[in-house]
Subunit: 139 residues, 2 copies
Amino acid sequence: MNAPTFHLDPRLAADTLDIGDLQLSRVLLMNDARFPWLVLVPRRAGLVEFLQLDRADCVALDAELRLCSLALMELHRPDKLNVAALGNVVRQFHVHVIARFETDAAWPRPVWGDTPAPSYAAAEAVARVKDLRAALRLV
Amino acid sequence: MNAPTFHLDPRLAADTLDIGDLQLSRVLLMNDARFPWLVLVPRRAGLVEFLQLDRADCVALDAELRLCSLALMELHRPDKLNVAALGNVVRQFHVHVIARFETDAAWPRPVWGDTPAPSYAAAEAVARVKDLRAALRLV
């Protein structure tokens, strides 16, 4: 029997811009101009909890979280990183990596569940995706 | 020169009940009767970001997150786990592992920054700590 196929949750797809695929995870940029905010989605069908990752995927995810954290650090020099796997709304397992600033719109609160997100303007979206692809060596 | 000594952040100490020490992390129970909520604090002085963990500590932390997640699953059978390292308020690196229910006080929002936490009653606190110590093989 073939392994079930990974499909990105439609809500994650609608809320984000595609950056590209690392070895394990699809990397997405949240379309929220207030925060430099990546979402990593391991391309494993049916994954909901961190607990379900096997050892090899767990090691790969750690490496990819590190790479994405470094990319955000390098590009934005934030005051703090927030790393979180919640999944109360979208059950498909995904991890947020968010660059936070003491001057940002939600500080010191978490970014979720705030007012509706202002999307990126077209030119800014293109520039952000390009910079992130370069920082993640996806070019 | 001696390695700097780990001291638990006083705010984390004030908000939690001590469960015990795993190989790397101190395990705390958030004193919030609304949510079964653990906090893991790797006992490394000066640690702020996930990025600063060396490879061995990263592997150890993954294993301890797994152990704590399994303990909450076993004791509470939640609908979802939330795992997060934020640190906007308390900079000492710490990871939240929270058992969430579709019927809980904050669902589907995150648990942070809500109304003040109602503490556990004494007998419930004692029972929770005992059950968690047993589930984490700390007895």
